[in-house]
């Protein structure tokens, strides 16, 4: 039985079909990469899983139960944490308080009190490398640090599945290496990960499998190295002509 199973999910916004019947499964311990050109439906997919959108058709199953259409907070408490591509910190709080919010509300069983949540935040901040900046107001953080904070807040929920939406976008090479290291640490701690990424180095470096979306449909699914060589994928990203030239 897979941890998460997405079955024929579609979502339409007016005339735009953002998702047109996407299916895939994520096993416990997997790191799955979701790639695709802009507008392929990657973020919509994440929003459907985390409950911010209700899929028009199809089903999303968490272990044995359907979570389609559940309120976001219920899905969060089942053990699904996520980050946002455009970071959404709580601006008036410190780094530590931001992180503690995840521990305070996202835990499935225990109801932590504010004090316990704060000390939990300290542990998580060390994992993502923000330990020294824990008392900073978030507005003082750089972009890479804000992305780390997104991850920290989600990790503080102790999720079983972590959905990462382009946490590496906009980072330089050194920062990407650091972020990759962070993702590996999270994976090694037993968290299953689904990550959206444009940086291919990340997909190849950490993912077991990759899912390519294009116009709301699954284009290819398989091991990253094979997927990235697939003609259809190159076409989707760079156009048919480029793909033809490559083959010659």
């Amino acid at each position: 039985m897979s941890l998460l199973a997405v079955r024929e999910v579609s979502k339409r916004f007016g005339g735009v079909k953002a998702l047109a019947g996407v299916s895939f499964e994520v096993e416990q311990g997997d790191v799955m990469g979701v790639i695709g050109p802009n507008g392929a439906g990657k973020t919509t997919l994440l929003n459907c899983i985390s409950g911010l959108y209700r899929p028009d058709t199809g089903d999303i199953r968490w272990e044995t139960t359907s979570i389609r259409g559940l309120a976001p907070y219920r899905i969060a408490r089942l053990g699904i944490g996520r980050t946002f591509q455009i970071v959404r910190p709580f601006p008036s709080m410190t780094v530590r308080e931001n992180t503690a919010m995840g521990a305070l509300f996202g835990r499935p069983g225990a109801r932590l009190q504010p004090g316990a949540a704060l000390s939990e935040a300290d542990t998580v901040l060390d994992v993502v490398g923000l330990g020294e900046k824990r008392y900073y107001p978030v507005l003082r953080l750089t972009v890479p640090d804000r992305k780390r904070l997104e991850v920290a807040r989600a990790l503080a929920m102790r999720p079983r599945l972590l959905l990462l939406d382009e946490v590496m976008a906009g980072l330089n090479q050194v920062e990407i290496e650091q972020a990759l290291e962070m993702v590996r640490r999270v994976r090694d701690s037993g968290v299953t990960i689904v990550l959206i990424e444009h940086v291919m180095k990340v997909i190849v470096g950490v993912c077991k499998r990759a899912l390519v979306l294009n116009f709301g449909r699954t284009l290819v699914e398989g091991p990253p190295a094979e997927v990235l060589k697939d003609r259809r994928v190159i076409e989707a990203y760079l156009g048919q002509r480029y793909a033809r030239d490559q083959e010659r």
Partner: protein, 332 residues
């Protein structure tokens, strides 16, 4: 730092005076030869200030902590007042029962309108609640058993002391409620909703429940103030129970004092109500006073948008730098 200490000392003395001074008006104190520190006007102003402390603090819970600027809280005040009117006048039951029922009625109404309206955000929420505030007043104004346009008379209770202490108690309850909320998980949930509602939802905050609960608490507190007002004034109608000016004032007080803080609305209510009372007696000059008040409000909102509590709170100094910084941080 010493400024802050001094401010606390002054506030403490003022509070002690406000709590104890009325006692000089009771017979025993007069016979003992104590000087009379309060008169009718003092009681009227002090009770009114306490009433606005309740309303501004309650507004702060939904508008300041949760980030949903309600423009219809006067509906809760009016409902509280009319609940008292019905209980005391129509049903002939004791006023104490009204004090229990008024917050319940107001809170129940908050659930009914809150569930649909709290889905709206920003201006839409503001306009929708404003509509509710006005509409409830109009409806009440047309219900015959509630006195319709004539209003409702309650049996007169002559005791300045009683109503002052009742209102002061309600004010302390409102401040204490805010203080407690800010120290609990619930309070953190409200702040998360204010700061970023979607982020709050995906980390596990039941946003709908939290928002409705905050609205309910605000409504209940405002309803208590309404009930006390009804018995104190012994006459209620649409104009005084659903006064649009009260509606605007409680928001201004919370904003000027400092939203999201425990003592901000208190500071705002006291300072603004005292200014209004001072200007009210101005005769022909009162027109200019009103203009002056408007200008003062505009200046406050532009230059000290975090409220006077933040401004005098010790974190900052009276300097141009403070103005520049808050301007930069709060303008979009």
């Amino acid at each position: 730092m010493s400024v802050r200490r001094a401010a606390y000392a002054v506030a403490g003395l003022a509070l002690a005076f406000v709590v104890l001074a009325p006692l000089t008006s009771i017979d025993a104190a007069q016979q003992a030869g104590l000087p009379l520190l309060t008169d009718k006007l003092w009681f009227r102003i002090a009770t009114t200030v306490a009433m606005f402390v309740v309303m501004a603090s309650a507004w702060n819970i939904i508008g300041g902590l949760t980030g949903y600027a309600s423009f219809g809280n006067v509906a809760f005040f009016g409902l509280g007042a009319y609940t008292a009117g019905v209980v005391v006048t129509n049903l002939g039951l004791p006023f104490a029962l009204a004090l229990v029922l008024a917050p319940l009625v107001a809170a129940a109404f908050a659930v009914i309108v809150g569930i649909p309206l709290l889905r709206l955000r920003g201006h839409y929420f503001a306009v929708a609640t404003l509509g509710v505030g006005v509409a409830v007043g109009e409806v009440v104004n047309n219900i015959e058993p509630l006195g319709a346009a004539t209003g409702l008379f309650l049996p007169i209770v002559r005791s300045d002391l009683l109503f002052f202490y009742l209102m002061l108690g309600a004010a302390l309850l409102a401040v204490l409620t805010t203080w407690v909320i800010l120290r609990t998980r619930f309070g953190y949930g409200l702040l998360a909703i204010r700061e970023n509602e979607e982020a709050a939802a995906v980390i596990g905050v039941n946003t709908t429940f939290y928002k409705v609960a905050a609205f309910c608490i605000a409504a209940a507190l405002t309803g208590i103030a309404g009930a006390i007002f009804a018995q104190w004034n012994s006459f209620i109608n649409q104009d005084n129970a659903f006064a649009i000016s009260d509606n605007v004032q409680m928001i201004l007080m919370a904003v000027i004092g400092g939203t999201g803080t425990v003592l901000g609305p208190v500071a705002g209510a006291i300072s603004l109500e005292l200014i209004i009372q001072t200007l009210a007696g101005g005769g022909s000059g009162s027109v200019f006073s009103q203009i002056g008040l408007g200008v003062l409000l505009a200046v406050c909102v532009i230059f000290i948008p975090r409220g006077v509590i933040d401004f005098f709170g010790g974190r900052s100094k009276l300097s141009l730098r403070y103005f520049r910084q808050t301007l930069r941080e709060t303008s979009a």
